[in-house]
Symmetry: C2
Subunit: 530 residues, 2 copies
């Protein structure tokens, strides 16, 4: 069966698109969406089928001792060929996916991971670590032909919470644990990791760690980096197991070297992570702004206060309209507070005061008016990736990318991305494009803008068109010294931008580490270093 | 003049002991302190003199082009021979300091640093980066004889705040800037780095970064790591300059590799750091506990709340007595709250409620009763290193060390350190020793215990006695999986413990990085890797 995952679920994952196969918009919905954009196809591209890919047998066979961990099932292999970026979906729709891995392995313990790495090293087989497969930057596919074969190393059979320290609020969790299962296993203890990226349902702890994922929360502790007490990482040079510590000043942090290593330095198999009590108190509201510049100043003031909102998402006018949060050209700031500890109404009130003092208008009834906009935005948020795939079926370009920069660069950066990507899309397609922006995470010293691009496609060549538009965006980011990625990782798609951003001595250091830990160069080749 | 620093001051630094030469206790004070401990000397060891060291000429001369940056003045060299650990003070008092560097260089820009590294590489001269020289772990001395000569690279001529982004609350600051000068330069902008380690007066931004210093604040953002936007690091393989970003998910963090690198991978020359507004609202109080175990539970509850106290120091009965915070055998919890933003009395009130619910007794008048204990503790805190040197002159052992561990290990760890180090001291000297503990930093998942050891010495051999006691402590730490250092760095003194704690694949990685960035092995040899 295609895209099977081993953690319990009764639903089937889509092998070619986002999430659950049964949650995708049907042909009529796709057509209705397509009609809203100029230059789309008359009818949706058909849902692709694995059998049309003509997947042959694998070029290698595992040894008898590992055979029970490995499958060559074509559906499984197709589902592990790529991540879930727009360009991955297009390639699947157009019948030219990335290289199909020869084998998919699902080790059930560290020993299995180590044995697979040893075998792969002996045979010069590329090993691509795979968690939930939700990469949107080409992080879980193989490109090129420098290796004899490709093994997708699916970690989801390592899906258990092994130990919970209730008093110290921490748990030892296997890296292949998917978001919902992780929270299900913690719930009886009254604790939560409280890490909810948009991909939550379809991504794993190990994936979050390997890509330095950003959570749903807008401020404070939201990056998975901050939740790590210790890591266990199987590398071709041995297993690294750091001590479980609340803090340490003993040399450069071993964990921080593996956080963000994207499977290129080792395979993260488990971690002790910090947990929190489940929040009891919540309050949220929406504030509208006539001028985006005012909204930016309001958000900065809130980010620099002591208030620490759980949600502080600023939607520009286009994004607010797209998500149904506002339809009058206003920008909308979605504010939310949470605490396990004490009521949060006062904090919300102070944040609203700050927003008003910068020109914002909060609904007269904060409870209901705000909640409606918040609710509309939340539903749209979870549905977005499915809609993106529907638009892809209509031949449209529909993709997002994110970055982060210091406050001094934010207004110019956002303007430049809108203007230059919009102009490039118009020039390439003859149709005006939509380039929206929201801030997903805010910091005292800067923010993370997240852009949505909706544009007419170029039939049969939509992924190349997107690559062109993205290249324009990457130039703008580079010019503004905005990071190539805030929380989507580098993968293969961001390598050129990453190589220009990374200090050269750090590149030397990373190459040296790669040589020491993965001397045969089998781990996720092409990611981070060559 | 011995121990000259280039940043403006009218006072003279002690070449052999902590801080200012004129702040040391005089002979009478030393004798009075010594009388409080059994087994001390009848009168204090004399203050050591540079001229008694018989320092000869340097074995190398700098080239003409670098001569203006370099001195071979004996007083300057003596002051750069060691850090300020108890064992350094004893070695100075006993006339056998660590190897005296041949030269002291004070570069005034990156170019100077790079040129000095190039010259040193050509001549196989060891380069020991030196900020304020306050290392208490042997971080700024040279041991061994594998190099032709030793150059102490004093960074304090790089002492300026170069740029302030008031809106984004950040500044670009040269690494050699000492704490007071850094705050003086920020003050006109209404901003503060708010990083106040005990060594604040005598340590630099670069030293804090290279050793992952912990600030004075007990919770929340207190480690210098969290304040870094970007780093500039001159390495023998080129200069690394990371982008100034509020956050990034682009691969492993380049900055986190250099944070904690202790001068072994490169010389940090400047950083963009995050600033804060100066706090306007403050409140503090002290709570006493009859039972230390109750106090531990109270502190954990406060650390796991949303309250985030600026100060949350728990002094055990011995430490409370030593600092004058209590004399009735109580443990004392010193609580403080600060905000630039809103009054903090309510937060203090809630923290006191939590403390009371775990058996604590807050003074009936929180304002005055609490403040007296808080004030007593603060004065003692800043005076402690001077008193340590006074006790060293009396032949006593007086030293501290710190660690961190998860909450489940804290009670057993503290008990074991007290018992085993106390027993070892008694056995070695025939006199009972004092082993006190305070918690300096607390986390939702653990705490950082800081131990003070006061014991009789072993005349002429006090440093070796301390090494023996410390070895006992290190065994206890290792058995409890408590880090070899929470914020004092590894240096040379902690290498054996660090080597056992660090995961072996990370050691491989670090050695590879060392080879890539410092191929000739001239940077702070013996620190972190060989």
């Amino acid at each position: 069966m295609a895209g099977t995952i081993t953690q319990p679920t009764s639903r089937t994952r889509s092998w070619w698109g986002w999430g659950w196969a049964d949650a995708h918009p049907d042909d009529a919905e796709c057509a209705a969406m397509g009609a809203l954009l100029p230059g789309t196809l008359a009818r949706p591209l058909p849902v692709p089928r694995v059998r049309d890919l003509g997947i042959g047998g694998p070029t290698v066979e595992p040894p008898q001792s590992l055979a029970h961990l490995v499958t060559s099932d074509p559906g499984d292999r197709a589902a592990h060929a790529m991540g879930k970026a727009y360009r991955d979906v297009v390639r699947a729709l157009r019948g030219r996916p990335g290289r199909i891995p020869d084998l998919v392995a699902r080790p059930t313990d560290d020993r299995g991971v180590a044995d697979l790495l040893e075998w792969a090293g002996d045979r010069r087989i590329a090993v691509v670590p795979y968690g939930g497969g939700s990469s949107v930057t080409g992080g879980v596919e193989y490109r090129g032909d420098a290796h004899r074969a490709v093994l997708s190393l699916d970690l989801t059979a390592l899906g258990r919470v092994l130990e919970v320290d209730t008093e110290g609020r921490a748990a030892r969790i296997q890296a292949g644990t998917l978001g919902p299962s992780l929270e299900d296993q913690l719930r009886p203890h009254g604790l939560t990791l409280r890490h909810f990226p948009q991909s939550f349902e379809f991504s794993t702890l190990g994936g979050w760690l390997a890509t330095r994922a950003g959570g749903h929360y807008a401020t404070g502790r939201t990056h998975i980096d901050d939740f790590v007490q210790s890591l266990r990482v199987v590398t071709p040079a041995g297993t690294s197991s750091s001590w479980r510590l609340p803090a340490s000043g003993a040399g450069p942090s071993p964990d921080r070297l593996f956080l963000g290593s994207e499977g290129a330095l080792g395979v993260i198999t488990e971690a002790w992570v910090r947990l929190q009590e489940r929040p009891l108190h919540k309050a949220s509201a929406a504030v509208s702004f006539t001028r985006f510049a005012d909204a930016l100043r309001a958000v900065r003031a809130i980010a620099q206060s002591d208030l620490s909102p759980a949600n502080c998402r600023l939607l520009d006018a286009g994004e607010a309209a797209l998500s149904g949060a506002a339809h009058d050209g206003s920008a909308v700031l979605v504010l939310g507070f949470e605490s396990a500890d004490e009521p949060v109404a006062a904090r919300l009130g102070r944040a609203l005061d700050l927003a008003r003092s910068h020109g914002g208008t909060a609904g007269t009834n904060e409870g209901s008016g705000g909640d409606a906009a918040v609710g509309a935005w939340r539903s749209a948020f979870l549905r977005m990736p499915y809609l993106r795939d529907g638009l892809a079926r209509m031949g449209a370009v529909a993709e997002t990318f994110e970055t982060a920069a210091t406050w001094d660069r934010i207004p110019g950066l956002i303007d430049a991305v809108r203007t230059e990507v919009g102009a490039a899309a118009l020039k390439a397609t003859g149709h005006p494009a939509t380039v929206n922006c929201r801030l997903t995470h805010v910091y005292p010293d800067g923010a993370a803008p997240y852009f949505t691009v909706l544009a007419a496609g170029r039939a049969g060549d939509e992924d190349a068109l997107w690559d062109d538009l993205k290249a324009v965006a990457v130039e703008v980011l580079h010019r503004h010294r905005a990071t190539i990625t805030h929380h989507h990782a580098v993968g293969r798609d961001h390598r050129p931008g990453y190589d220009r951003q990374r200090p050269e001595p750090f590149a030397l250091a990373l190459r040296a580490v790669k040589g020491a830990l993965d001397p045969l160069g089998i781990l996720n080749p092409g990611v981070l270093v060559d």
